[in-house]
Symmetry: D3
Subunit: 190 residues, 6 copies
């Protein structure tokens, strides 16, 4: 509504006021993406938490592993819509489109992963991720067995669970801070 | 996954096999939009229901009234995501972007209308529409009074309710038929 | 509480003030039933929507098909109680008793269809209808297969879904208008 | 479906085989009502539990107090439909019609107490009873104050809660035993 | 917060003011336990209900039967946490620890019975008890068959259901009265 | 059931095989607590995630701030029971008892924080934390204002939200790994 809407319910630090390591991280992202995703500025209000958040994120989302980068983003998008997280659906929807090289996949996965154009193993992956997001206490050995029947390793199961769990946290922080997605994300890779 | 994925779990009629009035309606849409939205083909499997559906739709979505055309689409998009209706979020998200001349509004309203860049009256409208979609038996006189305090007339209240109710139906048909949105919708007006 | 309680939260047109086609339709019902069901008067406030509603209703509830007329009313009664729709449970409960020639069936189906005196195919039909009413996004191919295993055709599946969907709409309109059932319905065919 | 459907999933004792006190109780009911309500036979399978159940029931439903006998039955009917208890809605619906001398009240209260023709104090009573039935852990001092503002004494509050709680138990036993209501109840006092 | 916090939202009778039979019952408990559990004082406000409650309790919890005394308490603890009943989780948690001679079992069963150190038959027992507590209308013949496949008799099924149902009532009364557990329970048998 | 039950569904590293920094961290905990809490061994299966998890934990739970250390643990215990996380309720219940020097508080907060012996500000804190845990998308400016009316700063609000969010993640990992609490926790500080 206004020309510069707030991106957080909490104070947002200026880039110049941030510790050097955080500023460097943000500038690297900016150089790569062409803009600073608001999550970096909103969370940088708490430098120690920022560092831990980013380290955790990278350990899950950037490492080698049995899940493709696009599959990881599918988990983020599906569970974030279940948590009604505006920031994460929009920003990670963009990243998913980029990584999957598919302009349609993000909207499909967000609204109802059962209707998405994905492989059966990806369907099983998202069924499990949604259970972790919404009813993790009901996870049983059978759920792990079902994933393994689709070819996932036990390590892949950890990855799926950990990504869904990490974004359970991230979605809640974005919802409470009322984190605003950058406008750049909406139309990216469509 | 395939080059021509199914657009319905039910038989889809060919345009040439349809009754003349239905074909005319569809050709008019095609001329205006540049393609035939799949909802027309999927529902045309049942001509009588098709005619009633479209007449109902037009009576709510095309008529004069206190709600702008964009506001009506906001109701559709918000309640359709609550019902996890892939077709309606994607197709009406596109129409909302067109009508609101705003590339961001549809994704905002879909994921969490509380975070959308909308006026307070629109927030009240969507709060009510969501109650109609999800717990209509709890609607009380106070809910109508709250809308009227925002400047809505009693007739506007009917319109909000009727649109949410109509798409409660439409979402369910789209979910059961597994209606597939046309690819054209995803990127429209972004 | 009063001698003539309101039948709607919205203005109710007088029969004489209605367009001729609507008046004719209502008079025909009145002649057959001996009274005017309130749904006709409440919805006639919006003539165009009235016409579409009735056309849709008739296309689903009056046409030929694999579902008996009583089975269609079972769907209405079961899903309407799930939606806590006072008008529809009372009015369609009466119609179900008439059509099934069974004074007990409506109350059974309304409270818990699992305990009703119905055939296994009807149980499967109502399980599916309740899923359409309450969680249509979870409908999968397996649900259709389960119905077909009970002898339903693919067309019957459409009918079940469409009736549940139509009353998802109708229930919401009745709840928002606070539509009041005629007293005649309560004791009919008991 | 059969000429003599089962009234319980558990063995049902013959009247002659029951302890004298239980038989006497049942015969007294039979004399008054003209038939033996199935709840007596189903629960008599466990004589000690039967005696406690009936003593509890009478202590709540038959005693003097600030709630009329009809109001107590309203609580039973509203909460029993929320628990989808076929037996209790049908049997206590009949008793409510008798006690309220009102053929319409039971169906109204069962489907949606918000739409019933009841006094404001009765509306408050049922709002509280439904909270006890569905989310008793959220009951707070404010809920009691709201009842007292409607003229209920602290003792009346206990009564409302205790009736809702007793039928929370009773509904569950009826659901698990698949207790079948006598046909006589359906049409009684309509 | 205060030195003698209230144990009920309702008046609490003095032991000396109670009818002799109730006083005798309470004194017997006091002698055995070393203190008077607050449930006795809170419920004694209503002597007739007290007598019925205790008779019912004893008929289920003290009688001979196929469920061990510890297993019965498992049902109480699991369903009471599902109902967020502070008194029952704390008091019956203590009794479960005593009866099972296991200091860990109560906390395990309370938080998530799927993770408790219990036998497969006990897992099946608690799955069923939770269904009775939370969705008894969905209990079907298959649920009983699953218990019988674990070696439970039809009578054991009644016991499981009846205990879950009785505490559905008891939890609601404890929640509404805001019944406070005695401090002695918290650390008992740990 | 067995003499050494599994503490995770995933491989558990030996202390000697861990990177030096992780081993040092674990040994420090062991020295202080007298045993190694299983969460350290279970999560150390993934060293990078372990480091980020612990850094995040410490940034929230160990830092200076407006919330007492006991208050932070209240948030953990209340939200962990809502998520049915066996490990976190047991382990953080123990820590809460230690930090609050109160043997009763953990069980109270776990089962129903509305009934706990806590100050009004702590009640407001837990109401908000539960909303973050269960429906963060519904958090509005009014929720923050309500906390500030209780004397919380905007920074305290962040802390409450971040702790609830962090344990939303932690609970999910504990549930999926089936993380087993050490027996030492159950009876600690009772």
């Amino acid at each position: 509504m206004t020309s510069a809407p707030a991106i957080s319910r909490f104070p947002v630090p200026k880039l110049d006021d941030l510790p050097a390591d955080i500023r460097a991280r943000i500038e690297a992202v900016q150089e790569k993406a062409g803009f600073v995703p608001n999550v970096f500025l909103v969370l940088a209000y708490r430098p120690d938490e920022f560092r831990a958040f980013m380290a955790y994120h990278d350990a899950l989302m950037e490492k080698e592993g049995g899940l493709s980068l696009a599959e990881r983003e599918m988990i983020v998008v599906a569970t974030s819509n279940a948590n009604h997280c505006h920031y994460c659906v929009v920003a990670h929807g963009a990243i998913l489109r980029v990584r999957a090289k598919d302009p349609l996949i993000a909207d499909q996965v967000a609204v109802n992963h059962r209707k998405a154009d994905i492989a059966p193993r990806q369907r099983a992956m998202l069924d499990f991720a949604m259970k972790v997001a919404l009813a993790s206490h009901e996870v049983e050995d059978d759920d792990l067995a079902a994933l393994e029947a689709q070819g996932f390793s036990r390590d892949d199961v950890w990855d799926i669970a950990a990504i869904a769990a990490f974004f359970a946290m991230s979605n809640r922080m974005a919802n409470v801070t009322s984190m605003r997605p950058n406008e750049e994300f909406y139309g990216m890779a469509r």
